[in-house]
């Protein structure tokens, strides 16, 4: 059993986790200071059932003295990292599969189900099999309008949807050293799409700079041993990497944008834990320039958190997006939840900066979801069809 430094539950998987905690005979959680609770999937409550689940969780937070960010802060993974709840060397679990995103800070973080979470809340520990590691060494310089999302979609296509099952993926190399935290979060976020237990980037100057003001701790060295054993080593050079799009209905289907350019889209979603940070929205705004979004399609933009929303607001980008014809929503999971709002009808096509394009993920199982970067999404939102952002 491994001791836990952090634990996160949200509105979808939280109610069951709490129920399991009680069923296990739980009375007091292991450490209220190490647990956070928030709502992001269905907010503000979109149904009486959702509202009732949220009331149940609020009561639990009050009873247990757990910090409740409620509906106010944004998407769970972004908030957990922003609030310093995941840091280098931590072991963190979240009742959500994309918890692996916290590996961007140098934490070991993995997604678990509700019963595991009930156990974690009670005991502050969980059973794990130590994963083997795939080393993904990344070199080269990205072309303009190509970035972390294109890289991870191409890595997913290379490794496959189950190519990293039960393993950790360590992202390393010169390209990663130069990458900002936003990009590292995008990479680690999608480790699960290859079946991985965790994605991780060894903490460096960029990490420690980001941790300032979020967690009081002294920096320390946490890189792999020079003679570390790896299950596999893979190398990637991004210099020739093109904007990449994953086609329906699997994530490991990434192709250069040219192969699907011209595909009509009905809805474009820029946001989510994968790509809803200020850097992502800034890139989208740069691509947009002084143009307007195509009025025949729906463009939904959702910053990942309150902090990211404020940064975007202060930079004048929210006004720019709204004037260009987009709907800018308050921080939440949005269409990626596939249940709250922004669903697609049978036959419709969504182009999305989120992490999953499974059949029915954003509504009808007869609809299609393509995944791409914020730059490609913005370019396509202007033209109304999948478009190479280098050509806008």
């Amino acid at each position: 059993m491994a001791p836990l430094d952090g634990t996160m539950i949200h509105d979808i998987t939280g109610p069951l986790a709490i129920q399991k905690f009680y069923e296990m005979g739980g009375k007091k959680v292991y450490d209220p200071e190490r647990i956070i609770l928030l709502f992001d999937h269905q907010i503000p409550a979109d149904s009486i059932e959702a509202a009732t689940n949220q009331v149940y969780m609020r009561k639990f937070a009050e009873e247990q003295d757990i910090h409740n960010y409620d509906i106010n802060e944004g998407v769970c993974h972004q908030v957990t990292i922003e609030k310093g709840r995941a840091a280098p060397g931590d072991i963190v679990v979240g009742a959500d599969s994309h918890t692996c995103m916290y590996g961007a800070t140098g934490a070991f973080a993995t997604g678990i189900g509700s019963t595991d979470m009930g156990f974690a809340l009670k005991f502050g520990a969980l059973y794990f099999k130590v994963p083997e590691t795939i080393r993904a060494e990344v070199s080269g310089k990205f072309q303009k309008r190509v970035g972390a999302k294109d890289l991870i979609l191409s890595i997913a296509a290379d490794i496959g949807a189950d190519g990293a099952t039960y393993k950790a993926i360590q992202f390393t190399g010169k390209t990663i050293s130069k990458m900002d935290m936003a990009g590292r979060m995008t990479l680690c976020n999608m480790a699960i799409e290859m079946g991985a237990k965790a994605g991780i980037v060894a903490p460096d100057k960029v990490t420690w700079e980001y941790m300032k003001g979020r967690r009081k701790m002294k920096s320390f060295d946490l890189d792999s041993d020079p003679d570390a054993n790896y299950a596999e080593k893979r190398s990637y050079n991004v210099s020739d990497l093109e904007p990449t799009v994953a086609i329906p209905h699997n994530v490991d289907t990434g192709v250069p944008v040219g192969k699907v350019a011209g595909t009509h889209v009905d809805q474009v979603f820029i946001g989510s834990c994968t790509n809803g940070r200020f850097e992502d929205l800034e890139e989208a705004a740069e691509v947009l320039g002084k143009k307007k979004f195509n009025p025949k399609i729906r463009v939904i933009i959702i910053p990942a958190s309150r902090d990211e929303y404020l940064k975007t607001l202060r930079a004048g980008l929210i006004e720019k997006f709204v004037k260009a014809g987009a709907l800018v929503e308050a921080p939440c999971c949005g269409p990626c939840m596939g249940g709250a709002f922004g669903l697609i009808a049978p036959g419709e096509v969504s182009l999305s900066t989120s992490n999953r394009n499974f059949k029915g993920r954003q509504g009808s199982t007869e609809g299609k979801v393509y995944l791409c970067s914020p730059a490609t999404a913005a370019a396509s939102a202007i033209t109304g069809e999948i478009t190479d952002p280098r050509e806008v």
């Binding site: 069951l16 005979g25 999937h41 997604g111 189900g113 520990a125 029915g360």
Partner: protein, 184 residues
Amino acid sequence: MASKKTVQVKKVILEKSPVLANGRTWKFGDDIDTDAIIPGRFLTLNNPDELAKHAFEGTRDEFAKNVKEGDVIVGGRNFGCGSSREHAPLALIGAGVKVVIARSFARIFFRNSVNVGVLPVVCPDADKIPDGEKIVLKIKEGYLEADGKKFAIEPVPEFMQGIIDAGGLVEYAKNIKEIPTCTR
């Protein structure tokens, strides 16, 4: 976990295994994700019976209508990938499915299944098991029979067997007083 009670429970599960899977097979392909098992819009539901009404909705609509107690799901590679929603194995429990056979499983679904009492069975030849067929599951003997043929199945990892023996993680947890944790 070596109490007499535990050993008895284990025996029951092993001996009952043919009964757990005495219905028909429902065949699915590779990469069946948990959104397909239970779509996002039903995740406000926490009750297995309610969830079962929407199992595989939009993916295989006849499933929820016709599934019977003891039926078995047969998947290909990477069964249960995607979201960590435990609603997926719960929907199967509500539908009366207690065994899922697949060539391989996604990690979180595998754990969730063991934790809530759905038995995930790894069968490298799962692709050869037909749809709508009766199977005979011989867990202790390490094989299953379908279509007149025998197919090898893999044992559950040892450290998870204790949870299965206890009848799920909730029951397992009830017996724990203290947790021995590893140190850094």
